[in-house]
Point group: C2
Chain length 498, copies 2
Amino acid sequence: MDVYISGVGLTKFGKSKESLERIMAEAAGLALKEAQLEKVDAIFIGVMNVEEFVGNSNFATLLADTMGLTGIPSTRVETASSTGAGAFETGFYAVASGHMKNVLVLAGEKMTHLPTSKTTRILSEVIDRTERRYGATMPAFAAMIAQRYAQEYKLSSSKLEEILAQVAMKNHYNGSLNPYAQFRKPITREDYLGSQIISYPLRLYDCAPITDGAAALLLTSEPTSIKVTGIGHATDTLAVSHRASLTSFNSTKEAAKKAYRMAQLNPSEIHFAEVHDAFTPFEIIGTEDLGFFAPGEGWKALEEKVTHLQGRLPINPSGGLKSRGHPVGASGLAQLVEIVFQLRGEAGEGRQLEKAEVGLAQSIGGLGNNNFVIILERSDRKRRYVEGWRPAYQPEIKTGLRTNLPQPSEGVGTLETFTILHHPPEGFLSPIALGFITLQEGIRIMACNPEYKNPKSLKIGKKVLFNTREGLYVFRKITLWDRLKFWIKGELKSPRQR
Amino acid sequence: MDVYISGVGLTKFGKSKESLERIMAEAAGLALKEAQLEKVDAIFIGVMNVEEFVGNSNFATLLADTMGLTGIPSTRVETASSTGAGAFETGFYAVASGHMKNVLVLAGEKMTHLPTSKTTRILSEVIDRTERRYGATMPAFAAMIAQRYAQEYKLSSSKLEEILAQVAMKNHYNGSLNPYAQFRKPITREDYLGSQIISYPLRLYDCAPITDGAAALLLTSEPTSIKVTGIGHATDTLAVSHRASLTSFNSTKEAAKKAYRMAQLNPSEIHFAEVHDAFTPFEIIGTEDLGFFAPGEGWKALEEKVTHLQGRLPINPSGGLKSRGHPVGASGLAQLVEIVFQLRGEAGEGRQLEKAEVGLAQSIGGLGNNNFVIILERSDRKRRYVEGWRPAYQPEIKTGLRTNLPQPSEGVGTLETFTILHHPPEGFLSPIALGFITLQEGIRIMACNPEYKNPKSLKIGKKVLFNTREGLYVFRKITLWDRLKFWIKGELKSPRQR
């Protein structure tokens, strides 16, 4: 059964004094009013971690009760930071099955009431336990991914900084036009460069903020002006260190493949997209993973303003997670609400796109390991290529990293990427250098060093030494004395060899 | 699209030294092996509170990764203590929609590694916040419900004790025949009476234990020997004090109505059922809510052994949550695994029922506010009444309690039910008397008193005084001095009036 959207609702994102259930009820009320519905067949609630953010369990029931909808089924769905998209997917199947006619999808999160270090700790629980033990945070991984991207595509650190600044400036500009956005002021290059380093090279303006907010959307089997035409959902390894590629997300590619196939569309036919820019480098990588641009070329499209509001393929017309804000459970659904606004021509002056008949949303769960790609289209759109449709999108899924080999307790490896983390979760020292080290056997390990504070002292691609302290890998640069030792042991031909 | 079951798996319930992901992977492995599948289209994971029980978020990804199934969609679903059934429902719609062919539903929880008072606190987070502030726990509510049931149906406290003992003895006997059960020894009346009071009148043997365990089930669109024929899901108010009836659950009745209608069956056609006996009184109430017996008569059927293994309508042949154990996220799915065992004739000697072609499971989320009723049937069953089917099940949904009236800060009310709670969550005094008090206006309030230790000193139906201390209602019995005061104020005709 085909599935349509009959109403949407969004709260103003930002800091709220209201309880989470009231914020979510507000969004739901807007969507229900739009659809002229007072009753639905079921509710699917997306909240990421209400247990720790607000100290509640049984939240699906609480929500139904708060809204005066007691009686009907209410189910909570969670897929880490893509939770809003996860709730959408489960609601979609309920309607597509023919068992339900109208379903309310409702997603939200309340985060601003806690101290940042506690929020960081809660958010870090989405990270693999072995990696979390190093104090690794989401920004730290995003920073290591950005560093690796620059290395692979030969971008200098100042070039990388310029690209990331451009993502932030574009999205803050778009957000300045969005009445629902948390940040409504454009930022300058100076603002960007003046913001503090969170995890080198990422600054505060590279990271989506901590936000309260909610989004709601009504799915129906009755035709409306907006049709859901593609859904893809895919997972990747929980540990980032277990992935063959650090500069693209297999989970986005697999999800996109499914969504394009279901919609019988190709990337070139997408008019605009909301891309999960929890961190600025993720927008660049996202546009490559989605097949909009070739690997390593997403930043060029940005520089050429292809992804700007007036460009050929606007990315994050809403301002993205970066500027609209990122209530973790809500973002995946807020993206879809923005797409509906655009498809209906209701995005408002300045932000409304000229060509908006096919929109795509990409939502990332965790560190790129539970991702969604969802395509919405105007129902009145004339489609030309459905008969004999051929997929033009054939992404390279990179696998093959060996993760089952025994890991030595000490040795020499190559620094694959690193970051200097300045805002670790509560209970960790700051700053701390974190890195991935590739061993000769093709294994990758995570390692830390609390002594490196200056990123210039480390270089990707260089050999480093590592050993084990208190169950953690610690790495350090190879000194002249180390080289002398290796030369004496016959492991180097000359102490000058690197 | 019709939905069938192609494989099931269950771990031995009890205390486990393994991690939750390994326990769940074990159950999944058994189900996949049975179905001869190495790949599925998606996973739906049911875990209730992994955030606090095991300190992990992003658990759907972790599970897919642990099982080597990285790539495919993995979604976590939660509906409090009915979570296993919630995961089943979402998986059902995914297959019923035609978008997926084989779906793994996997549910589990790990609880035994924490101190009991912490586990109690985590479990109590499913309770309404205003009620939780009194230190109310799940056993405390179950105890108040049992007391009210006895009052409404005129059972003496010794009769109530006898009935609850019989539920416990029946289910422990059934569990003694179940190799997957946590408790495999029948218990005697003396064992029951010798067990400590958790929340008067409920003893340890009235409460399902704290358990580690997992269940798995494969749903498929390809016909197999077991068909899913009915699913119903319904919510009720989060606050128990907001309900018109304390001796039945609207959420079970609404869910049952939907499930019977979908399956085109009536209660008399069900051959056996797994009923959510987290607390012994819930089994009695469950069998009434499901339409098996009239309100107030469930205990008679138990006494007449109708619900025993050899009876006309065996209830909890598995031993129920009581004896198989209750890993909160897993129980709703474990019930369905038991039904599949019975329908296939694989339940094993002693436990296998003679007539087992139609089985029903009822799962309770929270304190009866997110409930499921699911019906499974043998595909080869000859059905006689489908044409012109008429629903014979017309449960009375009791509503109408006024919850929006202003609550006085002190006054006189009637003690509707009470318990003496001996095991409150961490941070509360013990023991503490908790009660519901009905005010003249028809409002009900919750109230406490830390001084009543002897249940004999309180009597349901008597007038009590209440006032407010530190934001909580405190109640106390009316003394002669109170009556004298009321008499002098003209509120009583005589100080002897009660």
